[in-house]
């Protein structure tokens, strides 16, 4: 887990003030398989990390959950930028404009074949007729917490780091400084393509569609 990793935690504790805010309730689906058997899991569960000046205005964003190594370096780079420039409004705009120009010139941050496949799977899931099937698909194809014993297991689909970076540079190169709350909708809906909704759902698996996903 990224926020239990010693290097990440030490860096945050020494040089930043950590804050968390919930953007929506977590989605938890329980599938009643009959005979007392159930499958329970969380769905979606994307995150976003915002790096802010002491006044609470964002100067960089890391969308999606990444490995401790990637997160550590994202934090380190954000801190270096802050310490060198003070993250003034002009410095933020210049930094993101320059990074965006570099990515455009090198073709970086375009969807890879893997990312394209992931997007296609998500679209196919969204086209499913019933909510139970869509939710089971979400559990299968995204970050998922599965409760199969005493401790939950978290399965993480690798995020598209470069893809997200390009989207962040595009958005931040021209926007006035905003708070994390003001960035929230753009980051979750546009960049991560995740609805800001949640809650608990229970399904009786008495249709063939969800069962076929389990069998697949």
């Amino acid at each position: 887990m990224t926020f239990s990793d010693k290097r990440v935690v030490d860096l945050i504790r020494e040089r930043l003030i950590p804050v968390w805010e919930s953007v929506a309730p977590v989605s938890i689906a329980t599938f009643d398989l009959g005979d007392g058997r159930t499958v329970k899991g969380t769905m979606g569960g994307e995150i976003a990390i915002y790096f802010c000046r002491p006044d609470g205005k964002v100067f960089d964003i890391l969308p999606a959950l990444h490995s401790p190594h990637v997160t550590y370096w994202a934090i380190k780079n954000a801190l270096d930028f802050y310490e060198k420039t003070g993250a003034t409004d002009a410095a933020i705009s210049r930094f993101h404009s320059e990074r965006l120009a570099e990515m455009v010139a090198s073709g970086a941050g375009l969807p890879s074949p893997e990312a394209q496949r992931s997007i296609t799977r998500r679209r196919a899931k969204e086209a499913s007729a019933d909510k139970a099937t869509r939710d089971l698909g979400e559990m299968v194809h995204s970050k998922t917490g599965i409760v199969s014993g005493a401790e939950p297991i978290t399965v993480v689909e690798p995020g598209g780091l470069e893809l997200h970076k390009r989207a962040v540079h595009t958005a931040m190169s021209s926007a006035a400084p905003r708070s994390p709350q003001e960035w929230k909708e753009h980051v979750f809906l546009q960049i991560l393509q995740e609805e800001l909704t949640g809650g608990e759902f229970e399904y009786r698996v008495d249709t063939l569609a969800p069962i076929s996903i389990i069998e697949d």
Partner: protein, 111 residues
């Protein structure tokens, strides 16, 4: 003899009241009270709770992690990071701020 009687009484009283850690293994209501007691003690309770979070009993482990979450803002945190719950609480200090946006609550299980 005069000294022995109060000592025995004290020992008996001490033994009759289970510790907060013991109460984490008890029924739901008792455990809830114990968790609240730990939360009131704040960061001083963390070493004791971290030991309980490594218990062989999964129920004690889970409840200890819940108490840790109440104190640190992170469910089951074992690294000493203490999270604030809103940007407003963190602004105006000398350090930059890291804000984590997530679904659910970071101090609860299944976030």
């Amino acid at each position: 003899m005069k000294r022995t009687v109060p000592l025995v009484l004290l020992l008996a009283l001490g033994c009759s009241r289970p510790t907060a850690i013991d109460r984490l293994a008890a029924d739901e209501a008792t455990a809830r009270e114990a968790i609240a007691e730990f939360a009131n003690r704040g960061e001083a309770a963390l070493p004791e709770l971290r030991t309980a979070a490594a218990s062989e009993d999964p129920l004690v482990r889970r409840r200890a992690k819940t108490a840790i979450g109440r104190i640190t803002g992170q469910w089951g945190s074992d690294r000493g990071l203490v999270w604030k719950r809103s940007v407003e609480e963190a602004t105006g200090q000398a350090k930059p701020i890291l804000v984590l946006h997530l679904f659910g609550k970071f101090d609860e299980e299944f976030c």
